[in-house]
Symmetry: C2
Subunit: 505 residues, 2 copies
């Protein structure tokens, strides 16, 4: 197609000083001749090009009388300005975006027809190039939810790997990785597991994403304790020095389209099976992993709610792994309630430190779960005989070797930080005496998010009663923590709205 | 839930003079205390309340150094300002929007579970209240595409009827209506059909939507010839005077949520079966219709591509109609190519006038199709015996009775307008001689839209060759028309990109 940007629609770029989050917005005056000549209106998307960079932006039309924009200028929101790497007074050209032909593949999927590797490649390429608006991405994600077969999940994974950077570890034959399906607030086993298995000499270049729909992802929690936004060079150096890392994957450009999809999934509060498997596999393969442990917690309010669903998901992981040529070991675990006491970045980081430091007040369930999973990793790669992984993991933790390794990794990533202060607290007290019979993971997660987690690091929950505990009337069941009074109030008002967050009998 | 707006987060409202189209945007300073207290950031949605009105808006954060916003003020985009019906210097309150519980129903649907009447009611109520962002609406539409059963389509239709206004016609026992599934550019039979059947004495209060994915809807075309944005009172008066009207449904507040859904469908370029049937049925039932003719054109590039799909859709319409207690008659018609010569509002309006005025240059196919459909309506309600409808319709058209009625309706709606001027033309010429064997409806529709239709009324296509015509090399197959050179260029560049818009052999 003839590129409309050849037609010399040039304007001078300026920052308007408006933060539009992740969506690029361009501002043009309503009397702008280019708007008129091109037929741009308030509904339009426009392509803005500067040098070898170009973005698709939503167009907002500015009234000429306001003084926000001088004639001959185009305003750009913060994220648009950054994506174009602009300087003030640079000229940019503005045109209609080209026809996005891969949207016809999305339509195919909406009508339940299978897509090919080539079609997924084209969709992923257009998403990466910014040609999909959030509405298109939402439609793609919804269409794929529950509708991808094994081949399609592998195609999507491969398309996402191929669009990004890829790490290789030529010196390590075996590269291990681990992922938890989630749905259990506070289940922060990863930092402990990485510390144990790298203390055992394995290579584990762990990159995590931030929270999708939970109150904290591993990257959110680790960011409390050290720097996690590492570039590829730094990740490589940390892993060479320490055998492992605990980094956020976003800066390493591994499967970058996954990050775009996750941002929209978060706005939709959606997390579907095919997308989930493709997301996990693309990140792991791009990170160079050969052996991957998948933790699948099952419980009535976990992400996976029944044993049959867990077994189905286990099989999907195994079969997609086989398609993609990696060893995948999915493990089904107990997901009836949160693991650990803290929910939200700072509180989960506190639990992790307590376990690694072998402190008496460390949550026993988090310790046990981490040892069990680390033991399976050690067995999966033949680091010990089957049945002996748990004992080896326990010994590496108890001896302090894992804590030494954790500190080493944090130092290599930029230094171990101490826990930040916490601010506003609201205690939820038991209205009667009894035994805790059930805890609703989802409602607890919502509560922590309403309090501000994970963006507010010190927001979250301390869960003081677990299933089986006897509590007396008036005893504190949990504490809500927030960084602002407004958010604390907001979380409190949710408590009034919901029933049965913690059930007593 | 406790309403956070009670907490007195008050700011003074000001128009910032930015047109953000249909999405409400609120602008707050980055040093605003309410932002900090409430934990608002660039990703937030906020609820803005003024008096008894409130909206959910996307938050854009303005740097305090820019002068766009003074301290203590909140800026509102054009559409947000209008929805709140504000005046300058009014105080508004700002809060976190309440938890949108009906999103859990959308998630249910994504995972292919059936929804109840109550669940559809809740979804529709939240969409109407502005609690869904475009991303949520896109997800709801995609989840429903291809996944609604007959009961669910009826539930959704009823929910959409109940949220809006409803017209009643106590003096008329029978109220007829008509809808075309679309996919055929230029197929503008409705204004002709309404003129014929109201000339026969039937009551047909026709409200149409604007284009969803086509270069023009009936409302877009009729707007060229008369006023269509009528309120309910005016519609009632016009129908009382004339027996029918040709209005845009948007201002009458009939099934208002359908209009919201259609706006997002348009951005997605999506039009699915269940949604389509619910959209049509909700509009018709809200308009008080008792007998509804549905035109289903079938062709390889029409919206419905195979006879089996057409028969399936016919059955869905009949069954949903039965659930909802109205008579629905779906008719399967030939959809292999456009009907009439013009595509785009002004060019389609020209065709309609030519047929109604019995002009020699009137497109014969548009005339024949309109007479056939009008005849079926006359038979469906018993206005004549079966098999005699076509002759009656033809006589009402040829006698000038339909043209008189059309002028009467236009005069009652605000006056019959003459066709506006057209501007920039580009002719597509045959590269060889031959017979036209196929015309691609979709590519033609895209071409007309790229030229600016339907927003640019004088943009579109004049199609000069139809299937079966002999053309010589160099003869004009079609003309593209645009209101701006930029749009004409954009449409031309699409011609270079696509193959086989008009096939010659």
């Amino acid at each position: 197609m003839e590129d409309a940007s050849n037609h010399q629609n040039r304007l001078t770029a300026t920052r308007v000083g408006i933060d539009t989050s992740q969506e690029s917005v361009a501002y043009m005056r309503d009397d702008c001749l280019i708007c008129r000549a091109e037929g741009f209106g308030g509904q339009s998307r426009v392509e803005v090009s500067a040098g070898d960079k170009n973005i698709i932006a939503r167009l907002n039309v500015v009234e000429s009388g306001t003084g926000i924009l001088s004639p001959g200028y185009i305003g750009l929101s913060k994220v648009a300005w950054e994506r174009l790497a602009l300087e003030e007074e640079r000229e940019v050209s503005v045109s209609h975006p080209a026809w996005v032909s891969s949207l016809s593949h999305v339509r195919r999927k909406i009508f339940d027809l299978p897509l090919s590797q080539k079609q997924f490649n084209e969709i992923v390429r257009d998403i990466q190039a910014g040609r999909y608006t959030d509405v298109h991405i939402a439609s793609f994600l919804t269409a794929c939810a529950n509708r991808l077969d094994i081949n399609e999940i592998a195609y999507l994974s491969r398309a996402m790997v191929d669009i990004g950077a890829r790490m290789t570890w030529p010196d390590a034959g075996i590269v291990v990785d681990k992922h938890c399906i989630g749905g259990l607030p506070g289940n922060r086993t990863t930092p402990i597991l990485v510390s144990i298995v790298t203390a055992a000499g394995l290579v584990m270049p762990k990159t995590s994403s931030r929270s999708i729909t939970s109150p904290a992802g591993t990257a959110d929690t680790m960011e409390v304790l050290t720097r996690v936004d590492l570039d590829m060079e730094t990740i490589r150096r940390v892993v060479q020095e320490q055998g492992g890392c605990l980094a956020w994957g976003g800066n390493a450009n591994l499967s970058p389209v996954d990050d775009i999809l996750i941002r929209v999934e978060k706005a939709m509060d959606l997390d579907s099976e095919g997308q989930l498997v493709a997301s996990v596999m693309s990140k792991k393969i791009a990170a160079g992993s050969t052996h991957i442990l998948i933790d699948i917690p099952v419980g009535p309010t976990a992400k996976v709610r029944s044993m049959s669903a867990a077994k189905a998901l286990k099989q999907v992981f195994e079969r997609v792994g086989a398609c993609l040529g990696v060893v995948v070991m999915p493990v089904i675990t107990d997901g009836q309630q949160p693991i650990g006491r803290g929910i939200g970045p700072v509180f989960e980081a506190g639990d992790v430190l307590a376990v690694l430091q072998n402190r008496e007040d460390a949550p026993a369930d988090l310790r046990e779960r981490s040892i069990m999973l680390a033991g399976l990793v050690l067995e999966m790669v033949g680091r010990c005989e089957a049945g002996h992984g748990k004992a080896l993991a326990q010994q590496l933790l108890t001896s302090g070797a894992a804590w030494d390794k954790f500190r080493g990794i944090c130092e290599a990533q930029g230094g171990l930080r101490s826990l930040p202060p916490v601010y506003f607290r609201y205690p939820l007290r038991a209205k009667s005496s009894g035994t805790v019979t059930a805890i609703d993971n989802r409602k607890l997660a919502n509560l922590a998010k309403l309090a501000g987690a994970p963006n507010a690091k010190s927001a979250g929950i301390r869960l003081l009663a677990k299933v089986g505990d006897r509590v007396c009337s008036g005893e504190t069941l949990l504490e809500i923590w927030a960084e602002t009074q407004g958010e604390l109030r907001y979380a409190q008002s949710y408590l009034v709205q919901v029933q049965d967050m913690i059930q007593l009998e």
